[in-house]
Amino acid sequence: MTKNSDTTAGIYKETLLAGLWRENPVFRLLLGMCPTLAVTAAVKPALTMGLSVIFVLVCSNIVVSLMRNLLKPHLRILMFTLTIATFVTIADLFLKAFQPEMSETLGPYVPLIIVNCIIICRAEACASKNNLLVSIIDAVGMGVGFTLTLCVLAGVRELLSTGMIFEAKVMPDWFVPWAAMSMPVGAFITLGLLLGLVNKLTKGKS
């Protein structure tokens, strides 16, 4: 899938920072585009989605890392999917029970975390090759990186499409909401511009 990026297994800080910026799942690896585009119309669902992904990512990385020596190569994807699906279902049930409104807003996108590439990518690229601690740190780094990116994207879109951030009004009264920003087109344009900005900022550095 991707090249093994964790040759620096001993350096935990490196691993953590990789997920946050250098290998940010959305901006650098371009993984998990489906939730990125679909649930970033407002910050609150984006944050909920991000936290769910962190939970699933950490749990699946723990389990995969623990059983990494027992895995049969040709059955490993099956094991990954089974693990991920279990934790996603738990996250989905949890949201339904304690955050019913958010669960309704996110709709099918919570169960769809199962097919989110970031999680299976980390299971394959990191957890199945590294020890428990590195796997957990990697999961936290990647998960937080994903969540932050989602929130930035959602912040821009929510601000422009409703004049609010986190459901609190921030724009002055004369501001007319840009309805297009809450539509899919807004997601694509905002993502494109942010990607361009990130590329511009990191140009020549890596």
């Binding site: 007319v176 909401p177 840009w178 309805a179 297009a180 920003m181 539509m183 087109v185 344009i189 494109g192």
Partner: protein, 337 residues
Amino acid sequence: MPDNITVSPAPHISEPVWTHRVMIDVLIGLVPAMAAAGYYFRLYALILICTCVISSVVTEWLCNLICKKPNSLGDFSAVVTGVILALSLPPGLPIWAAVIGSVFSIAIGKMVFGGLGSNIFNPAMVGRAFLTASFGMMMTTWTVPATIDSTMPRIAPENMLHARTQATPLGWSKIAIKDRNGAKIFNDEQFEATLIGEVGGCLGETSAIALLIGGLYLLIRRTINFHIPLAVLLSAFVFGSIAYLIDPDAYMQPVFHLTSGGMLLCAFFIATDPVTAPLTRRGMWIFGAGVGTITMLIRIVGAYPEGVMFSVLLMNAVTPLIDRLCKRVPAGGKPGV
């Protein structure tokens, strides 16, 4: 080597066809439409046009600055984009919305792709599409031309509830399709009104005569080929005729479709954009026919009263395919075959 020295085999016929010449010609062609806009919608129309032009130019300048590219203002394409965008806006649009549209046109519609010549979609239509998606209400609120009394029945059929907000010929057409009273609404007087431009609509699209004059100028100057305008108008006419022949009660006469809405503006000034239209003659016919047909499909079947913007954008998207389809075979057969 200086630009004015050209080394080439005979015959030495040269013509100064540069981008800025073409763009200035297009601007001259748009003058009648701008004048009509100024006449019917008064000072505010001119303010809108100036706003769009200035913000387009400033945006292009800023984009070049940020991307550290050479200044490209000299080709006048930003001015043309600004004018075309302004002419396709409703006359009552707030200034700030026009600014957002222009910035979007130039930045997202053109500069992101790498400037003039690299853009896939017509920049002005990209900006207008964004405005339509964002401020749907404003973009469909029409004001009555200043030359007529807004209470006069000429502008609105009697059965219209909100004459002020839907007083475009295409708006009536949509209602006529629903109520099946097209024959009653569209008479000679109405047709005359759409010709001279005394109807509601976007700034530059109301007056068919002004647009025709501008279009003819471009054709005579050979700034544009006749293929695309003819294909657009012909296909729209044919499609409109079919609908009219099937049910003359519901659908308005095909000529109306040509003179009202953005059809003429599109045929002469928008669809002919050399960057986003196909290069070959056959491609141009296909492109024009596609624009005309999709416009009519949206007008007659779709939910929107006007479809020019979407049809141009859709056909822009398939332009590379059309170009590939219509590759010209070099004299003497395909090389390497």
